[in-house]
């Protein structure tokens, strides 16, 4: 579909260095906290110290009535509701400041405003809050038992939603020579972008408009949500997301804090800001990844999968938040658990459990990381039973190459790919026989070596039918781009998605180059401002390169036609004989040409030169895009690694790590690599380090980055990566969403390697992160049991 990239090429397929780097490297990034506003005040929130309590009283410090605000002050403000459209959903309401009940540690109770954050915190300390403790629901499994106390008193069960993909398993139960049943668990995590959340709210008197600068991935969604909660017209709200210091899902949310600050700025006319600190982030926003699986795999004697039966619980926390709701994660679990495999029967019962913990948000990979972990552990267990290499068992079970495109057992449409080839290349790159030989020799230092792999496929850029099917309150539709060739021949692009590390200022300029032949240096991307850009659900779900890339191409195609129409007249040629390249419009096969700048100059400044029938819409347009199908692209990857396990210390060292990935046509391979490496680091965090423990009172136990371990440079192995570039048949250039995949497979691949190293000791890890404490406990347990 795409020609090989020529040297010096700047279009789709070029590893163009990023346009955005220079300002960021000189300290000229404009993050929300950098915004300077005269008279800016700062906010500190009083937050709940208890996970579940009745709020008896909140007393403001004397004389501070105009600086401290509670729910009763916020007249006209509505709670945040995110109602899933699936039947049986139990509705929660999050008051933006606590009402009668607080339901997790960190829930905002009062807003304190002062000249500086330090003074606002001083004030917060003086606010007296009387809480009457209520029974706490700290664990998702206990939450679902009939006698559990309730997170929401009027609910009959602590579950936002229960759902079922049902199937008759009697034949597979009868026929299976191998049955493996495992209990699998993943820990609660913090997404931990290095920049926390940040909000500056101002009131523009001239426009009667609330202007909110927010570190968000989805400014238009925040605008809609803020307007609805404040009960005002959307025209009265503008949201700006300037440079944002990493998202990963953490900033894909309508915040209670945004609404509080917005209310204050409108009420008083005074600007105000809140910058989330790390303590607030860690103690109140560990909000992702916590899954539990009771999963059984049925296979024949050779390890061919016959069926999967699973009961999965997702700890969705205390409230359903906008826009993804408490159900996205559990809905994903049941629909994607089968992964890249073919099977005859599949049954999955999922629960989005409610607990007194922070409300869940979709973290990079969303449910895929947990699902891949559960499924791939089961595949390895089956391989052990069958006495075969894990990769061989996978080879026997993945969708065969010639079956693509393939509709799987949950009706997912795999648009393209070659899973067996991906496996083959990964196994070759890791050199399995060499590791097996090394295992036999043993390590001189007494550590145990193991190898493991994991393969997954990843639905990305999924659209209307998928989100509607999951009942999510936000359903993406078409994506738009506004494009304008300006009088000097430069191109302005405006998009509604947001770039917060993905490098879209560069990649979308490459798309424009591909279509218009314009130098990417002459393309300026405007994004992150609801006043300047088309409406969009924003950046999430690895959708931007597919959706905004498609929209930019569509808009540039329109501009190209209009440029040709003008140039045809000026060059006295037929539009069909013109081509666009290197910033010129050329009569094909001749040296008769004019520059884009000359065309633009003529259109804007010499309209007398235009023919009478020229399209009056000129050199600007808004064009929309939707992929050929809205079922999403299916990128996929196989991760394989070798580890050395120290059974004395319980530590795991990654000795080698290989990734073979298919992201379809790579718009900018350097940036794709960067996305995968970054995801991998987060996945290694999930596998080995990152965990927010809660005690029985649902108190978070890690409140600094010294307790919550993020991977550093020394924890990252050297990675080898190969790309397969099978184009997606459903997207503009064949590109597939790849922003999340790196974070999906590491826990599975690493756990499988650890289990490979330890299985003759009778150890099988089924929980992550695989911390020394967990590993040593498993070793001790195995020893005691033998």
């Amino acid at each position: 579909m795409t020609a090989p990239v020529e040297a010096g090429a700047k279009g789709v397929g070029a590893s163009l260095p990023r346009k955005e780097d220079d300002r960021l490297m000189r300290g000229r990034g404009e993050y929300v906290a950098n915004r300077r506003v005269v008279g800016l005040q700062e906010v500190a929130f009083v937050r709940s110290p208890m996970a579940h309590a009745r709020v008896l009283a909140v007393r403001k410090p004397e004389g501070a009535e105009q600086q401290v605000f509670v729910l009763a002050d916020l007249d006209g403000v509505k709670p945040i509701r995110a109602v899933c459209g699936l039947p049986g959903f139990r509705v929660s309401e999050l008051q933006v400041l606590a009402g009668d009940i607080v339901r997790y540690v960190g829930e905002p109770i009062a807003m304190c405003v002062a000249a500086t954050r330090a003074e606002a915190e001083d004030l917060a300390e003086l606010v007296e809050v009387d809480l009457e403790p209520l029974p706490v629901v700290a664990d998702m499994l206990a939450a679902l038992t009939p006698d559990s106390p309730k997170v929401h008193a009027h609910w009959d069960r602590n579950a936002f939603l229960e759902s079922m993909v049902d199937d008759d398993l009697s034949t597979v139960k009868r026929d299976a020579a191998i049955v493996v049943r495992r209990t699998v668990r993943t820990a609660r995590q913090c997404m931990a972008p290095i920049e926390g959340r940040a909000v500056v709210a101002e009131y523009d008197r001239r426009l009667d408009q609330l202007v909110v600068h927010s570190a968000t991935q989805m400014p238009h969604i925040n605008r809609t949500g803020i307007a609805e909660c404040l009960g005002i017209d959307q025209a009265s709200v503008r949201v700006v997301a300037p440079d944002v210091g990493g998202g990963f899902g953490y900033k894909g949310i309508l915040l209670a804090e945004e609404i509080c600050l917005g209310w204050y700025a409108r009420r008083t006319g005074r600007p105000v800001r809140w910058l989330e600190d790390r303590y607030e982030h860690l103690s109140g926003n560990a909000n992702c990844r916590e899954h539990h699986y009771d999963i059984t795999g049925y296979a024949d004697a050779s390890g061919r999968l016959l069926g999967i039966d699973c009961e999965a619980v997702v700890d969705a926390g205390a409230y359903s938040l906008y826009p993804f709701s408490a159900c996205l994660e559990s809905a994903q679990v049941s629909s994607i658990l089968p992964g890249p495999y073919v099977m005859d029967r599949y049954r999955c019962h999922t629960y989005a459990a409610a607990t007194n913990k922070p409300p869940i948000l979709p973290y990079r990979g969303v449910a895929r990381t947990g699902v891949c972990f559960a499924m791939e552990l089961v595949l390895d267990a089956i391989a052990r039973e069958a006495g075969r290499e894990p990769w061989e068992v996978r080879m026997a079970n993945v969708v065969p190459s010639d079956a693509m495109p393939y509709t799987n057992i949950t009706n997912k449409y795999f648009d393209s790919g070659d899973y067996p080839e991906c496996l083959r290349r990964t196994v070759a790159a890791l050199d399995v026989p060499a590791w097996r030989a090394r295992q036999t020799r043993g390590e001189p230092d007494g550590r145990r070596v193991g190898i493991g792999l994991a393969i997954f496929c990843e639905q990305a850029a999924h659209g209307t039918s998928v989100y509607h099917g999951w009942g999510i309150p936000m359903v993406p539709g078409h994506e738009q781009c506004f494009a304008r060739l300006s009088p000097d021949g430069a191109l302005e692009l405006r998009i509604g998605t947001h770039s917060h590390g993905q490098g879209m200022e560069t990649t979308l300029a490459q798309v424009a180059n591909e279509v218009l032949g314009i130098d990417p240096a002459r393309v300026r991307l405007i994004h992150g401002d609801t006043a300047l850009t088309p409406y969009s659900t924003g950046t999430w779900g690895s959708r931007s390169m597919v959706m905004s890339g498609g929209a930019v191409a569509a808009a540039c195609t329109v501009i190209a036609e209009r440029v040709k129409a003008i140039a045809a007249h000026l060059l006295e040629a037929a539009p069909a004989d013109l081509e666009l390249a290197d910033g010129d419009v050329r009569v094909t096969g001749t040296d008769h040409s004019m520059t884009l700048q000359e065309v633009a100059h003529a259109w804007y400044r010499q309209p007398q030169r235009m023919p009478p029938d020229i399209d009056p819409a000129g050199l600007e347009t808004t064009a929309g895009y939707k992929a050929v199908r809205d079922t999403g692209t299916f990128s996929y990857a196989c991760h394989a690694c070798a580890v050395a396990v120290d059974t004395e210390l319980g530590t795991v060292e990654i000795l080698d790590y290989v990734i073979v990935e298919d992201g379809g046509t790579l718009v900018n391979p350097m940036i794709v690599d960067g996305q995968v490496y970054g995801g991998l680091a987060q996945g290694i965090g999930s596998a080995l380090f990152e965990e927010m423990p809660f005690n029985a009172d649902a108190q978070p136990l890690a409140s600094t980055l010294a307790d919550y371990m993020l991977p550093g440079a020394t924890e990252m192995p050297t990675v080898r990566m190969e790309h397969m570039t099978i184009p997606s048949p459903i997207t503009r250039f064949g590109q597939k969403g790849i922003g999340e995949g790196g974070a999906v497979a590491p826990p599975a691949a690493i756990a499988n390697a650890v289990n490979d190293a330890l299985h003759d000791l009778g150890v099988e890890i089924t929980e992550c992160p695989i911390t020394p404490r967990r590993l040593l406990a498993a070793l001790a347990e195995a020893k005691a049991g033998r």
């Binding site: 000189r26 990034g29 440079d243 990493g246 998202g247 600190d277 600094t704 020394t714």
Partner: protein, 160 residues
């Protein structure tokens, strides 16, 4: 309030500061030098790394009053620094930044590694970077960039 006199990016600064004011807030909010970012405010992430008297320091756990008489250099003060120019080119070439939030602190640390430990190998570089967290890049491009600047400096200095 306490009166302090210090140098910031070569300029003399004379101000009253509250004793509890940390250096990074002082620089950002009072001197409008917003290039230094704040990630944790407890000395772990390294986003706020800058130079105090020529050595890398965490400005979130340094009090402004403690910098009386010191010479402070923030990312803005490295615009024309020859080593930083090389590092910026390498960071760009090797895709060593995504969101850019850790980058100013990362560059200050990188410059320190390059100048202080010209012979460091990759393992040592990683160790030296362990006080700077990046959530976006997986450190791959960062390490490559530093390695490449060191190699280039060695070959241009005649491979000492």
């Amino acid at each position: 309030m306490t009166r302090i006199a210090l140098k910031v990016n070569g300029q003399a600064v004379d101000r009253d500061v509250a004793p509890r004011r940390n250096l990074v807030d002082f620089l950002r909010d009072e001197l409008n030098l917003t290039g230094t970012n704040v990630g944790c405010e407890h000395g772990v992430c390294g986003a706020c790394t800058l130079e105090i008297d020529g050595a890398p320091a965490r400005s979130c756990i340094a009090f402004a009053v403690a910098c009386d008489g010191a010479s402070v250099r923030t990312i803005e003060g490295f615009d024309d620094d020859p080593v930083m120019i090389e590092l910026r080119a390498a960071f760009n070439r090797e895709h060593a930044l995504q969101c850019g939030y850790c980058t100013p602190g990362m560059l200050v640390t990188a410059r320190d590694i390059v100048t202080r430990l010209p012979d460091a190998d990759e393992a040592r570089i990683r160790e030296e970077l362990s006080g700077n967290l990046c959530r976006c890049t997986g450190y791959v491009g960062i390490v490559r960039a530093i390695v490449s600047v060191m190699a280039a400096r060695k070959s241009s200095s005649g491979g000492r």
